[in-house]
């Protein structure tokens, strides 16, 4: 399984990828940064696509820039709009046992496993 190495890694990327910190959100995206984001997001982008992509991303970041006008010091970030308490549940197996269903949509499989290109030399 490739669960932990794929896609636009969240906090994992903070340790994994060393992007130099910037002073503030003022900087817009240049081609080098667009390339870096595409790599983080695991999206193949050709060199020819980079200028347009950098321009679009810069425009969107320019739009969200206005948030910096607001003084939010001391404001607690809101991650969930409706207050809910996470409920615990019984630590029991109550689902599973149907590999055929789980694998039914696999692009490639080998017996009861998802098959991927070789990852270990």
């Amino acid at each position: 399984m490739a669960c932990c190495t794929t896609g636009a890694a969240l906090l994992v990327s903070r340790e994994t990828f060393r992007i130099p910190p910037i002073k503030g959100p003022k900087m817009s995206v240049d081609e080098k940064m667009a390339r870096r984001i595409a790599t983080l997001a695991r999206i193949g982008v050709s060199d020819a696509q980079l200028p347009a992509l950098a321009k679009e991303l810069s425009a969107i970041l320019g739009f969200v820039e206005q948030l910096s006008e607001l003084d939010t010091s001391g404001v607690k970030p809101l991650t969930s709009a409706v207050e809910t308490t996470m409920l615990g549940r019984e630590d029991v197996i109550n689902d599973g046992g149907y590999p055929a269903d789980v694998l039914a949509n696999a692009p490639e499989r080998d017996d009861d496993y998802f098959a991927v290109p070789k990852v270990v030399e």
């Binding site: 992007i19 910037i22 959100p25 193949g44 970041l61 607690k76 709009a81």
Partner: protein, 492 residues
């Protein structure tokens, strides 16, 4: 036009119970109407055999005197809801021919209440869009059009749902709303769109876009139909830890028409620059209607409104970049071979995602990356709290908020598709409700000079759907919006 396809949900339900027609007849009439409406491109998959099978089961239930709340009602299902054994793609190439081996909780609730599935409805790819132009299956066309007969967008992302309900290609439809994707398409098509409180409907089995904002709801012909649909869609679900364990009220019973003494807030900040005078006038008309019905109008302030869209365009892409990490070509959907596994991921994602989805994943990836996380993502979450607190304060003075749903009526296909920012502005009045988790409803209230529908939005308190629907019912009665799009699309 067949008469059975003119019925709204409440009428069809009552007609079925009184045995004026059978579920099979009702379903057959809709199947035929859907099959003749390819020009609208509202359905991406039609399931007529399944529909008739379900209709026959409903007829058996009715014969036994065991009709359930939605017995025999033919619905369209947004292609974001996983349907067991029926292809579900979120209208993205990356999901290829994905066929879920399970049913979403919301659609499962609908089938358990006797509803019939006509097929899967078009939407913007992964629900990212406000015009339904980013679907892998092509744009959906609005049944409404102006005198110049130019094809118009049906709104988005639930454009298949809004177009289908407006054209009577289904008695009602499911939809989802992350920044306005139920309410804006409803406003563009003269239909009713209800986004419930975050947590009211389970998100289990709904293809995820931005999990802290996504909420399922109905698009319907009337406010009563929305109340009936929500009663079946809503449930507590142990499989969605953010679904809320509160009893589901009888929403239809809330439609008493009595809003005497109810306080309606009018937010000063929603008077945006360049708002068409027709929308301004319609808003004032709405205020007058509610005043005449005995409501008290209260001026309120939602001072952080202008920061809602910028905050949304960090939070939603950030969550999307995380949610869409799962599309890697390994377990389901499209796979493009690469020279190694990393190349396979990158090639698959480049080929499978459309331009707007790629833009949003990249913005989200950037906002979450080291060095930018605090400046963008945390900042946006702080602003989100300020926006939610604006409403908390406003609701000390009022019970519901009245605003326009959109800053314009439906625009032409292609008019805004080259400018993502221009497109984003469509959600300026609806996005606050998602950030604050509040329920909102769009009610068709009039037409503009071009003869195109306009909607008024009501925003309620957390789990205040009953008040919300009651006021919406009063607006609907006052507006008497009975106009329908001329049927130019049927291939008959």
């Amino acid at each position: 036009m067949s008469k059975l396809t003119d019925l709204n949900l409440a009428q069809a339900r009552d007609g079925l119970r009184d045995k004026q027609f059978s579920a099979r007849e009702l379903t057959q009439a809709h199947i035929e109407r859907v099959a003749a409406a390819d020009k609208l491109n509202a359905y991406v998959l039609q399931t007529p055999e399944k529909a008739l099978e379900m209709a026959d089961a409903s007829d058996a239930k009715i014969a036994q005197g065991e009709a359930r709340p939605l017995e025999g009602i033919p619905l369209g299902i947004k292609d974001l809801f996983c349907t067991k054994g029926v292809r579900t793609t979120a209208c993205s190439n990356i999901l290829a021919e994905f066929t879920p081996p399970y049913e979403s909780t919301v659609t499962g609730n609908l089938w358990a209440d006797g509803a019939v599935m006509l097929g899967k409805l078009n939407n913007d790819e992964f629900a990212m869009g406000s015009s339904n132009e980013t679907s892998r299956f092509g744009a959906v066309i609005n049944p409404w059009r102006g005198a110049d007969q130019k094809p118009l967008v049906p709104g988005g992302s639930s454009g298949g749902s809004s177009s289908a309900v407006a054209a009577r290609l289904g008695i009602a439809a499911t939809a989802t709303d992350t920044g306005g994707s139920i309410r804006q398409p409803a406003a563009f098509t003269g239909t009713v769109g209800l986004k419930p409180t975050y947590g009211r409907c389970s998100r289990w089995g709904v293809v995820a876009f931005a999990s802290s904002l996504d909420q399922a709801g109905p698009i319907t012909q009337t406010v009563r139909d929305a109340a009936i649909m929500l009663g079946s869609m809503a449930s507590y679900d142990a499989k969605d830890s953010t679904s809320v364990n509160l009893p589901v009220p009888n929403y239809e019973a809330a439609l008493t028409g009595d809003i005497k003494g109810l306080r309606v807030g009018i937010p000063a900040e929603y008077r945006v620059d360049n708002m068409p005078s027709e929308i301004e006038a319609l808003w004032q008309q709405g205020i007058d209607w509610l005043t005449q019905a005995g409501a008290e109008i209260v001026d309120i302030s939602l001072p952080h409104t202008k920061y809602a869209l910028p905050a949304y365009y960090i939070i939603a892409p950030a969550e999307a970049s995380s949610n869409l990490a799962r599309y890697d070509g390994v377990r389901y959907g499209m796979r493009v071979a690469g020279k190694d596994i990393d190349d396979m991921y990158a090639s698959t994602r480049a080929a499978g995602f459309g331009d707007e989805v790629i833009r949003r994943i990249m913005i989200g990836t950037y906002a979450l990356s080291a060095g930018y996380y605090d400046a963008y993502y945390v900042k946006a979450l702080q602003v989100r709290r300020l926006i939610a607190e604006d409403f908390t304060k406003a609701y000390e003075k009022c019970d519901v908020v009245l605003t326009p749903t959109t800053p314009s009526s439906a625009f032409a296909i292609g008019e805004k598709s080259d400018d993502p920012l221009e497109m984003y502005l469509n959600d300026v009045f609806t996005v606050t409700g998602n950030l604050a988790g509040l329920p909102g409803i769009s009610v068709p209230a009039g037409v503009d000079a071009k003869g195109l529908p306009l909607g008024l939005q009501l925003i309620g308190k957390t789990f205040g759907e009953e008040d919300l629907l009651r006021v919406a019912g009063v607006l609907e009665t006052a507006a008497q919006f009975t106009a329908r799009a001329d049927d130019w699309w049927s291939a008959e």
